[in-house]
């Protein structure tokens, strides 16, 4: 049995032992996504009505390929952190909750791998 007071137990990294890590990573992603999402919307605008060759040529440029990769990575990371909170808020049964939390991570990995594979194939 611990002789720690309840206050001591939650100080530092807190009762969940992760501290503000989740909050902080969510904000880092959010800050990064402000310019990246603006870039994405502007790029989509520029590509409206363009044919496939023009879109491929656009994404084959190193700056655009890297920006697109960063956008995908930052968005999927920010997404899985956000969806995690939604699952934790609404799903209270331990089994389904753990299954959904795993599915959430796998979804981000799969979509991310598909996007990055496509990007490499387009750009190289």
């Amino acid at each position: 049995m611990s002789v720690q007071t309840p206050l001591a137990r939650v100080q530092g990294l807190g009762a969940a032992h992760t501290g503000t890590g989740h909050f902080w990573r969510q904000r880092i992603g959010a800050v990064a996504l402000v310019p990246l999402a603006i870039w994405f919307v502007c790029s989509a605008l520029a590509l409206i009505g363009a044919d496939r060759d023009a879109a491929v040529a656009f994404l084959a440029q190193p700056v655009n390929a890297i920006a697109m990769a960063l956008f995908v990575i930052a968005a999927l990371n920010h997404m899985s952190l956000g969806v995690q909170v939604v699952i934790e808020d609404y799903v209270h049964d331990e089994g389904p909750k753990i299954a959904l939390l795993m599915l959430n991570i796998f979804f981000a990995w799969i979509v991310g791998a598909a996007c990055l594979f496509a990007l490499v194939k387009i750009a190289v």
Partner: protein, 138 residues
């Protein structure tokens, strides 16, 4: 009477929830932030499909274009674009709150209305540009 109330509690909500309150605008923006965030999960699939279709070759890209230009595809794309502009603008609002800016009731109400109007305007502008300037009709 009091004893009866204790043994058979009325079936009322213990904590008033969404359906009980008249929605303040800040409540609507908060709920919409989560809703658009979830909609953007589907948006990642649109982006992934677009990239895979580009990488796959003309026949795959034709399929993507055909679906995207279909009226239903346009509705989905509008939902995606508005979710993105809304979540982006309201996200900036949240980041401002994180550093302590605009957190009083009047400022929050005003920024809520601004975010709703501006996000719709931006999304409509994207589609107006596509239809009117680029001449793309679905």
């Amino acid at each position: 009477m009091a004893e009866q109330a204790r043994t058979a509690p009325a079936a009322r909500p213990l904590s008033p929830h969404l359906q009980t309150y008249r929605w303040p605008i800040t409540m609507a923006t908060s709920i919409a932030h989560r809703a658009t965030g979830l909609a953007l999960v589907l948006g990642t699939l649109v982006v992934a499909w677009w990239l895979l279709a580009l990488a796959g070759g003309p026949q795959y890209y034709d399929t993507f274009s055909m679906v995207a230009r279909h009226p239903l595809g346009q509705v989905v794309l509008f939902g995606f674009v508005w979710s993105l502009t809304y979540h982006l603008l309201n996200g900036i609002r949240h980041l401002a709150w994180d550093i302590g800016l605009g957190f009083d009731v009047h400022a929050a109400n005003r920024s809520a209305a601004t975010v709703i109007a501006l996000s719709l305007l931006l999304a409509l502008a994207v589609f107006a540009y596509a239809y009117a300037v680029k001449g793309l009709y679905p």
